[in-house]
């Protein structure tokens, strides 16, 4: 049975990549390179453990193992990746005992780029920590135990989420786990990094270090790391006890997973009855009353409505907010009184613009509604751009008001607004072109909360965004540099206005290209977004 599930997983992955065509192949190659690169780099870094003092080396190893565990637990949720290939729900109809399923599911989970990267990291840890004694067997066993704990924990969480995601509302909620977890991890990382003061004599004396040290030891990944540490120190009894503790953790994990699987495989889904609707639901709620009752207004209103209601779009929007806010926080802009820091308020416009590279992706096959109502690429694209701009405005406004209040530099308002308009214009101009040149559907997750529907093309799907981000940086870089260098307020304001004009020109040119290309090709655009294109 284990081999059947392994073959099934390989087949599903292969077909997922093949169904995505060249994009899937490119994405798979990039993902493989990223996984092997990450694994090799982390593995090589762990070789340096050999040069560290035993206690410090154990602390570092425990931290590394904790990171591996966190990636295994939250990775499939955050990345909405290949976990869906063997979602337990899909096996419920087969007469398979859970005891037969579990080894196969574990083995199948190991297959893939994540498994390769993990094995490379663990190999590095063994090479970096193994003692030149028979206790090397404990080191190898502990590394293997770490692998089993990680995979089991990942499967347990995947099964629990799968069980929770039986109803549409829970599924919607589960989709938000990704950005929430990512945000939480980032905040935690920043808290730790901020504690690192290069002027301090020894970071190891700080309270944060003590907290992190304790935390990484009490996590399920802690006992294997400690067993390896004790083995290196030659403490046989402690090493074996830690190894036994790790075995206990694994046993508990498997037991919990068994119970979760039992529940998923034997309980039905949610009711199909429609919940009562809200009276007076309107495409144009109070906040959008100003939009014209035209095709452009309808598309913009629909985009904004779905940005919040569609969990995929809501997660993407949180990602945009997250990407906008992180630079403000991590660069300590909010704590700065330098007037130039106000320019960071343009960051949300840059992020919103640069992520507009697949404007039809969330529409997917539902775009037939627009095509059947008469091809009007210009108004449809304009509505989407208006919606994007309306998303950027409040983010930029909040950041601008906050930073101006902090720096008492109202003179920065015009240059910053100019820079924001330039960033948005460049992003949307390039994004509209990318949206019609290389559109791809973002799969809905009605049946599978883990599946992105774009197996193997996660990275290649991100390439247009990365390209527009890079192009935007090249175009906007000189404007930002000049704004920072110039001191004369009039000249800076003029530069801001000029930047806005340049952004508007880039938008008009890009938008025109996109409309000319897509207007006569609406059926082809629809075909590119159709279900046959999804994995």
């Amino acid at each position: 049975m284990a081999l059947v599930l392994v073959r099934l997983k390989l087949t599903l992955l292969r077909h997922g990549i093949a169904a995505s065509g060249t994009r899937g192949v490119v994405g798979a190659v990039l993902a493989a390179l990223a996984a092997v690169g990450t694994g090799v780099t982390a593995g090589l870094l762990l070789l340096f453990l050999r040069a560290m003092r035993p206690g410090d080396a154990t602390d570092a190893l425990a931290a590394a193992y904790a990171i591996v565990l966190v990636v295994w637990v939250f990775g499939p949720i955050v990345a909405a990746g290949s976990e869906g290939t063997l979602e337990p729900d899909r096996l419920a109809l087969f007469p398979l005992g859970i005891g037969r399923l579990m080894p196969g599911l574990l083995l199948a989970a190991l297959l893939g780029f994540g498994g390769v990267a993990t094995v490379l990291v663990l190999a590095g840890s063994v090479a970096g920590m193994a003692p030149a004694s028979p206790l090397v067997a404990v080191t190898v066993a502990a590394a293997a135990l770490e692998l089993c704990i990680c995979v089991t924990a990942g499967r347990l969480v995947a099964t629990l989420v799968s069980a929770a995601a039986r109803t549409r509302r829970w599924r919607d909620l589960a989709l938000l786990l990704g950005p929430v977890v990512a945000l939480g991890l980032n905040v935690a990382l920043q808290v730790v990094v901020r504690q690192v003061d290069p002027r301090a004599a020894d970071f190891r004396t700080t309270r944060t270090y003590a907290v992190v040290r304790t935390l990484t030891r009490v996590l399920p990944s802690g006992p294997p790391a400690m067993a390896i540490g004790f083995a290196r120190e030659g403490n046989v009894v402690a090493a074996l006890l830690a190894l036994a503790a790790g075995g206990g953790v694994l046993f508990v994990g498997i037991d919990l997973w068994h119970a979760a699987l039992q529940r998923v495989l034997t309980s039905g889904g949610g009711s199909g009855a429609a919940p009562p609707g809200r009276r007076g639901a309107d495409l144009f709620p109070a906040a959008l009353r100003f939009l014209p009752r035209t095709r452009v207004g309808a598309v913009a209103a629909k985009e904004l409505r779905l940005t919040w209601r569609d969990p995929r779009q809501r997660a993407a929007f949180f990602g945009v907010v997250f990407a906008s806010v992180v630079p403000l926080l991590s660069l300590r802009v909010l704590g700065s009184t330098d007037p130039h820091s106000v320019l960071f308020a343009a960051m949300p416009a840059y992020v919103v613009g640069s992520t507009a590279t697949n404007l039809y992706g969330f529409d997917g096959a539902a775009l037939w509604t627009n095509v059947a109502a008469g091809d009007d690429a210009r108004r449809d694209l304009l509505g989407k751009c208006v919606a994007r701009a309306l998303l950027a405005v409040p983010l930029v406004t909040v950041a601008l008001v906050g930073l101006v209040a902090r720096t008492h530099a109202p003179g920065e308002i015009v240059p910053t607004i100019g820079l924001a308009v330039a960033a948005l214009g460049v992003g949307l101009g390039a994004g509209t072109v990318a949206s019609v040149v290389a559109p791809f559907p973002v799969s809905d997750t009605r049946s599978n909360v883990f599946s992105s529907g774009n197996a193997g093309q996660g990275l290649s799907a991100a390439l247009p965004s990365l390209g527009v981000l890079a192009a935007g940086a090249v175009v906007l870089g000189p404007v930002v540099a000049a704004l920072v260098a110039l001191r004369d307020p009039v000249a800076r304001a003029a530069l801001g206005v000029a930047g806005a004009a340049a952004g508007a020109i880039v938008f008009i040119v890009g938008f025109g290209i996109a409309v000319r290309r897509s207007a006569p090709r609406q059926p082809e655009l629809l075909d590119a977004l159709g279900p046959r294109r999804t994995a």
């Binding site: 549409r168 199909g272 009855a273 429609a274 919940p275 009562p276 609707g277 809200r278 009276r279 007076g280 639901a281 309107d282 495409l283 009752r293 035209t294 095709r295 207004g297 309808a298 598309v299 209103a301 629909k302 409505r305 779905l306 209601r309 569609d310 529409d363 997917g364 096959a365 539902a366 037939w368 509604t369 627009n370 095509v371 059947a372 109502a373 008469g374 091809d375 009007d376 009605r446 609406q522 059926p523 082809e524 629809l526 075909d527 279900p531």
Partner: protein
């Protein structure tokens, strides 16, 4: 009797998907005001034909004229005169039913008061009044069909194209849809719909075309195509499906149940 003007004229429509010829020179003429059924086995090319006729899929060859307008020469004008309900009901399903109809109306540049008035009528008739404020994602399959039908009727088209409108629909919803469509044709509208259900086609349609392997193998008035037999018998004979089971699958009787 004088022949009615054609509401839909398909000439030599052809479409190839890689190595598969999905539609191989389809010619059809649908008189205005008729209830026209398009039947055929799975993979016969019904959906592809309807998509090409409605401007959703570009044909490799051939022409499609709807209400006197060449769909591929002037798609905007042609689409203004047709309503479409595709088989694969992908909708903007995080909009409520009411919002979806407003969206459809505004896409077609209809005045807001007209959209609101017609939305009320359609939701009432289709039994969706209480679900107007519910997101379409929470609708049952039958409700999805009905809201999509409402969207296709909202702008009072001359021709309605429906791909498998009765599939996965409960009997009550099916009856409602039938009554709405009969009301539409009695007002002069033309309905072209595909279906697997021969009884439905026989009961509703005055004309029918049978598609097989991308070709029209029979077309005309239902009675002329049936030639005194049931439509199912004619259909099975034309598409060549005989006794495929025969003496095989005997092992099914050994099932332990």
């Amino acid at each position: 009797m004088q022949e009615r003007a054609a509401a839909v004229e398909l000439r030599a429509l052809r479409k190839r998907y890689d190595a598969k010829l999905a539609v191989d020179g389809v010619d059809l003429s649908v008189p205005a005001g008729s209830f026209f059924g398009l039947v055929g086995p799975n993979g016969a090319g019904k959906t592809t034909t309807l998509k090409m006729a409605t401007g959703l899929l570009r044909p490799d060859e051939g022409t499609a004229v709807v209400a006197g307008i060449d769909v591929w020469a002037d798609p905007v004008a042609a689409k203004a005169r047709m309503g479409v309900l595709p088989e694969d009901l992908r909708l903007f399903d995080r909009l409520t039913g009411t919002e979806l109809l407003m969206y459809n109306g505004l896409l077609r540049s209809m005045p807001k008061p007209t959209i609101e008035s017609r939305t009320g009528d359609l939701l009432d008739v289709l039994g969706l009044s209480d679900a107007g404020g519910t997101m379409v994602v929470d609708y049952s399959q039958g409700m999805r069909k009905k809201i999509a039908l409402a969207a296709s009727l909202l702008h009072a088209p001359a021709v309605l194209f429906l791909d498998e409108p009765f599939e996965s629909v409960d009997p009550v919803s099916a009856r409602t849809i039938r009554e709405v469509l009969q009301r539409f044709t009695s007002g002069g509208g033309t309905v072209v719909f595909s279906s697997h259900v021969m009884e439905t086609v026989e009961r509703l349609c005055d004309r029918v075309a049978i598609l097989h392997a991308g070709r029209v193998v029979a077309a005309g008035a239902v009675d002329a195509v049936r030639r005194g037999r049931s439509l199912e018998d004619v259909f099975v004979e034309l598409v060549g499906a005989g006794q495929v089971v025969g003496g095989r699958l005997g092992w099914l009787s050994s099932s332990s149940g």
